[in-house]
């Protein structure tokens, strides 16, 4: 599903964020990415959804070389990848429904269907009753669950989370991790960047450890692999010839 071949990322200052990373993450896998601050976790994730491009090496996502995707096609790649950040990145002036229903609206779904899919995504994170609220009215944990709902709205094949529990206390962190595990059980490939070793150990999935931009450890999962059901998307059944989400 995700393959890195000798991927390096050097900044114009000469500083190296990633150095010769080679790895493979299978479809339906749950994978922690850990390492100290500045180890290259965020850069590695950014390269997957083309927020950044490698200086050298190749990255394949679903068999497509993401570095070679033309700029106009990047949005369609991103519609197949859900991303969750530590700082939530919600639009403060929009309601929770509007935040979550953003992608369905871009895809041209009518308002009724937007509401249905947003409700379903929010129901999965236990926030369907807060659709009319604004982000400022939610707690940190609730905001993160909204961000997860937004990431899940198009039933992405890959869910990327960059320190999603970084701003949350231990209980809320566990709650968010349970949510990710539930999503994973439905067949989504999950990449979860964190430096919280306790959290990682409590789950027992595969762990990739980065240090100074290098992959220094790849510990396999201690759990049995999850079954991988097909992943329907909002676009399914409308245009089979197009890349998922390749409309609007």
């Amino acid at each position: 599903m995700i393959q890195f071949f000798g991927v390096s990322r050097r900044f114009s200052t000469g500083q190296s964020a990633l150095d010769g990373i080679t790895l493979e993450i299978a479809r339906g896998e749950f994978c922690f990415i850990t390492g100290a601050s500045g180890a290259g976790k965020t850069t590695l994730l950014k390269l997957i959804f083309r927020e950044d491009v490698p200086t050298s090496g190749q990255i394949l996502v679903n068999g497509r070389n993401v570095s070679l995707i033309p700029r106009s096609k990047i949005p369609f790649l991103r519609r197949t990848i859900g991303v969750v950040f530590q700082d939530f990145r919600l639009i403060e002036r929009k309601t929770i429904f509007e935040n979550v229903a953003f992608l369905p609206r871009i895809l041209g779904l009518d308002h009724g269907r937007q509401k249905r899919v947003a409700f379903e995504a929010l129901r999965r994170v236990g926030l369907s009753h807060r659709m009319a609220s604004f982000p400022s009215q939610l707690s940190g944990g609730e905001k993160q669950r909204v961000a997860i709902a937004r990431a899940l709205i198009n039933e992405p094949e890959i869910l990327i989370a960059d320190e999603p529990t970084g701003n949350l206390d231990q209980d809320l962190s566990q709650e968010i991790v349970r949510l990710f595990l539930d999503i994973h059980l439905r067949g989504t490939t999950v990449l979860f960047a964190t430096h919280d070793r306790v959290l990682i150990e409590s789950v027992g999935h595969r762990v990739l450890t980065l240090a100074h931009g290098r992959l220094v450890d790849d510990r396999p999962s201690r759990r049995a692999p999850a079954a991988v059901p097909p992943t329907p998307t909002l676009d399914n059944g409308r245009d089979e010839s197009a890349t998922p989400g390749e409309r609007a």
């Binding site: 083309r50 950044d52 990047i74 991103r78 919600l90 953003f102 871009i106 198009n154």
Partner: protein, 303 residues
């Protein structure tokens, strides 16, 4: 997303963006309104002056007065010179009797004055209708007039074309300066709108980042900003059109009594010209948005 949905979304977001940075948006709207108002005034004045000059030209006289002692052969020679001129459309001989009749008709109270001075009071003359002289021929025309003035027996050549030509030169100058001024002001308007759109896109930078993250296309991201520029330009154009109408309403009562007011603003802009003015404002707004968002794209990481 279909076109109607996109249009409705863009307009709604553009209006929100405009309201969000209201003061700077108003500044941009006023800047474009002022520049379009001045452009409209230049158009209005130059159009009316051109029409006035055209009327004057239609009424322009070209008269060659001869000395009383010129005999029939001399008259025929001068008449032939005028008739052979390439700008002469028609030629008429005005005898002293005809001239006296005209004078008495035009100035009945002064008819005694002519009668007192007897037969030679008014000279024999030729009146010609002159075709419009192209600007490129004006030097040749002046040379021809000078040649006529030097003809034996000719005492005066009265050519209205001379001063109408000067008026037209001034008119061209006014039009050129006005257009240059309008172009400078429009450039300033585009710059102002570009700055406002840039500021709005800066205010929305986090939202834009989120939009990119969830897979919004550039069309979807940029649409509201383009519409914001267009909206500012449209509003500026409408204010300018309204102000021009107001100025015309103020001048209108004075047109009959004032030669200057009549020459400058007797005819208002046509509906098509007003629509073009407003559309030009929208185009300037859109240009500002495009200029602004080109730089915005360069700043966007990974896209």
């Amino acid at each position: 997303m279909n076109v109607l949905q996109a249009f409705s979304y863009f307009v709604r977001e553009a209006a929100v963006g405009l309201a969000r940075s209201l003061r700077v948006s108003l500044l941009a709207i006023l800047t474009i309104a002022v520049s379009l108002f001045l452009s409209g005034m230049v158009l209005l004045v130059s159009k009316n002056l051109a029409r006035t000059a055209q009327e004057w030209r239609a009424e322009a006289r070209f008269t060659v007065y001869l000395a009383p002692e010129v005999d029939a052969a001399g008259k025929a020679a001068v008449g032939a010179t005028i008739a052979q001129g390439r700008w002469t459309a028609s030629l008429e001989e005005i005898t002293p009797d005809v001239a006296r009749e005209r004078f008495e008709r035009a100035f009945p109270s002064l008819s005694e004055l002519v009668a007192e001075r007897g037969e030679g009071a008014l000279p024999f003359s030729f009146e010609a209708v002159i075709k419009p002289v192209p600007a490129a021929d004006s030097a040749a025309f002046s040379a021809w007039v000078e040649e006529l003035r030097r003809q034996p027996g000719v005492v005066m050549v009265d050519a209205d074309q001379d001063w109408i030509g000067q008026v037209e030169t001034v008119l061209t100058l006014i039009r050129g300066l006005g257009l240059a001024l309008a172009a400078i002001l429009l450039g300033a308007s585009i710059f102002t709108i570009a700055s406002v759109v840039r500021l709005t896109s800066f205010l929305y930078r986090e939202e834009i980042a989120v939009m990119r993250l969830v897979g919004a296309t550039e069309f979807y991201i940029r649409g509201p900003f383009y519409f914001e520029g267009i909206l500012q330009g449209l509003l500026g154009g409408l204010i300018a059109a309204g102000a021009l109408g107001g100025v015309h309403l103020l001048i209108e009562p004075r047109i009959a009594s004032s030669l200057l007011a009549g020459a400058l603003a007797s005819k208002f802009l046509t509906p098509l010209e007003l629509v073009a003015l407003v559309a030009f404002g929208a185009l300037a707004g859109w240009t500002g948005a495009v200029v602004s968002l080109n730089r915005e794209t360069l700043d966007a990481p990974g896209s």
